[in-house]
């Protein structure tokens, strides 16, 4: 068990592209940590640098008490599960699981025993003599996990461990992985491009973009208070409402519609450009008790069924030749409106976040 510490880490490819561009990160002992980001953001490069498969151009990597920056992958005491699982096709399941032990020159009898020990809890006991090609995707994934477990590493590194599974199996594997990690208590870093996966599984997560970390926090923190427009856009099953407007007379004018300024933002000057953001889940239909100045009213332009909820897009404003804006809300299935109907929405002002309307799009702290 160990902590992982990255200091000023830069990984530059021979062609000059910086896959990782100045990352500082501390991962606690036993933590289940997610690296999340769109493809090409450097999350896999960061994981590979941690594993030692890519050399760090600048900065340090520490695992536990050791500085492993200059060490070979095999000397870092980490185990990695690859996206394609990287099971050796010419070896049986048992030989695959015991391969790390073969490298450590453990005797054959003990190897087989320890392979069985790691395989049994993952219900692979009956498959030990099969070859990887004879296994299903889910079984292959469990073999890859068993192989990682068998070498008792200080840190697990998972590269998109669930992306090769079909949707149904992925949900089961998510729960399973989380339970397994909790039971083993081994520090785990996993890479994913699926924000739902990161939110569901991790203890803490880092959102990456262009080789840099944009936000680190618990899934709840990142979901509720995305630190920038990029994170706000990236996190969440339904896209967040992000509308640009200007502060005017203690309210925010979004063009055709004005909304209240959230509490604690009275310091913003008149005319200042901001982005008003609220998750569709935090927008409800306005009941009778809602003050009129908090209501956003418009015409329903689209209704998407999400199962127990519906995602409703409402065109707001747009009178007098002005261009209107669209506000989305997630409503219970019973409240499903007709397309074209007038709808009064109530964004929960306490959940509204304001961002700077510039390139960084940083969160405006109250």
């Amino acid at each position: 068990m160990a902590t992982v510490e990255l200091t000023d880490l830069v990984t530059q490819y021979p062609n000059g592209v910086r896959g990782v561009d100045g990352v500082d990160l501390a991962i606690a002992d036993g933590e289940f940590f997610a690296l999340l980001g769109p493809s090409g953001c450097g999350k896999t490069t960061l994981l590979r640098t941690l594993a030692g498969l890519e050399g760090a151009t600048e900065g340090r990597v520490r695992i536990g008490e050791r500085d492993v920056t200059a060490l070979e992958p095999g000397e870092r005491d980490v185990a990695m599960v690859f996206q394609d699982y990287a099971l050796f096709p010419h070896m049986t399941v048992s030989e695959n699981i015991a391969y790390p032990l073969r490298i450590q020159k453990v005797a054959r009898g003990e190897r087989e025993e320890r392979a069985r020990e790691s395989a049994d809890p993952l219900s692979l006991g009956a498959l030990l003599e099969r070859r990887p090609a004879q296994l299903s995707g889910g079984q292959q994934q469990r073999v890859a996990l068993a192989r990682a477990i068998a070498c008792h590493p200080q840190v697990f590194l998972f590269d998109e461990p669930l992306s090769n599974l079909d949707a149904r199996l992925r949900l089961e594997a998510r729960t399973f992985l989380k339970q397994l990690q909790r039971r083993l208590g081994v520090t785990t870093v996993f890479v994913t491009h699926d924000q739902a996966e990161a939110l569901a599984m991790s203890d803490r997560m880092a959102v990456m973009e262009a080789g840099r970390i944009r936000q680190v926090g618990t899934p709840r923190e990142v979901f509720q208070r995305p630190a920038s427009l990029f994170v706000a856009n990236f996190i969440g099953a339904t896209p967040m409402n992000l509308l640009e407007g200007a502060v005017r007379g203690g309210r925010i004018d979004l063009g055709g519609v004005s909304v209240p300024l959230p509490a604690g933002h009275s310091g913003l000057g008149d005319g200042e450009r901001v982005v008003w953001g609220v998750r569709p889940e935090y927008v409800a239909t306005a009941g009778d008790g809602v003050p009129a100045d908090e209501v956003v009213e418009g015409e329903v332009s689209a209704v998407e069924n999400l199962g127990v909820t519906v995602l409703v897009t409402v065109a707001v404003g747009g009178r007098d030749g002005e261009e209107g804006v669209e506000v989305r809300a997630v409503l219970p299935e019973d409240d499903e409106p007709e397309v074209g109907a007038r709808l009064r929405l109530h964004p929960q002002t306490a959940r509204v976040l304001l961002y700077r309307a510039d390139d960084d799009g940083a969160l405006v702290e109250p």
Partner: protein
């Protein structure tokens, strides 16, 4: 013409053409299989009585068995050397970025046909003479290996290219040293390719006449392909009994090898991991 008739005719024509083609290629094979068992072999493939006398004559010939052994030494040695060197070269060329790598490979491939070709025999002879390798089997093995290597590297590189890098990286993270990665992961995965290339190299050398004929002087070192050339009687007539029987015996090891390897690995001329 009625389209049905036309289809029928074109199909009949196709089959007749195919049959003629089969006969054309099958006749020599028929001759090869039948003639050793006929009492008075000629150019004609006919079975007029069955006899094993020809085989007795072959067994009694003092040149036959040593020449088969020589063939095995030359072909086996070359095949092993070709596979071993080509596997290493293919791995390196597949994994290390070398500027102009593909051009280099194509150039080698083109030039390789010259190495064992007729045009290069004089310089090769002189070179081996300087090296003191004339009339030595190791010289023949080296020359043939050199000629086969580029094509072998080319074929094997395709197999290595198809091995996912994650296999090697996975082994490295578990602490495998480069030679362990090669021995435990890469070589076993490309084994079918190595088997294919090995058989291919063996067959090439097995049937090669020119190189051993020129580079070996002592008849006792000559392989079967060269010795067969000496089976003429005093009058300059080919000794059909000996030639046909020897030809059959000569082809058996290659056919056997093919069957064994095909059974074990299945022939593949392109890399690929079965899912």
């Amino acid at each position: 013409m009625n389209p049905v008739v036309r289809t029928l005719l074109s199909r009949v024509g196709g089959y007749v053409g195919a049959c003629l083609l089969v006969v054309f290629f099958a006749l020599p094979l028929l001759w090869l299989v039948l003639t050793p068992f006929t009492p008075n072999p000629t150019y004609r493939a006919s079975l007029s009585g069955v006899t094993l006398d020809n085989f007795r004559a072959l067994v009694d010939n003092p040149q036959v068995w040593p020449s088969i052994r020589n063939s095995l030494v030359l072909a086996g040695g070359s095949a092993l050397l070709v596979v071993a060197l080509a596997a290493l070269a293919a791995y390196a060329l597949s994994r290390v970025r070398v500027p102009g790598r593909d051009q280099l490979l194509y150039a080698l491939l083109l030039l390789s046909s010259i190495v064992t070709g007729t045009a290069a025999m004089v310089p090769l002879f002189l070179m081996l003479f300087q090296l003191g390798l004339i009339d030595r089997q190791v010289g023949v093995v080296l020359v043939l290996t050199g000629g086969l290597l580029p094509a072998a590297v080319f074929m094997l590189k395709d197999f290595v290219d198809s091995v996912p890098r994650s296999y090697e990286e996975s082994a490295r993270v578990f602490g495998a040293k480069p030679n362990q990665v090669l021995r435990h992961v890469v070589l076993p995965v490309i084994r079918p390719g190595m088997a294919t290339v090995g058989v291919w190299a063996l067959v090439q050398v097995w049937g090669n006449f020119l190189v051993p004929y020129v580079l070996l002087a002592n008849p006792s070192k000559q392989p079967a392909a060269v010795v067969m050339y000496t089976f003429y009687d005093a009058g300059g007539q080919p000794d059909f009994a000996l030639i046909s029987t020897f030809a059959l015996v000569y082809s058996v090891p290659v056919v056997l090898l093919y069957l064994v390897v095909n059974r074990r690995y299945g022939f593949a001329f392109q890399g690929g991991i079965k899912g």
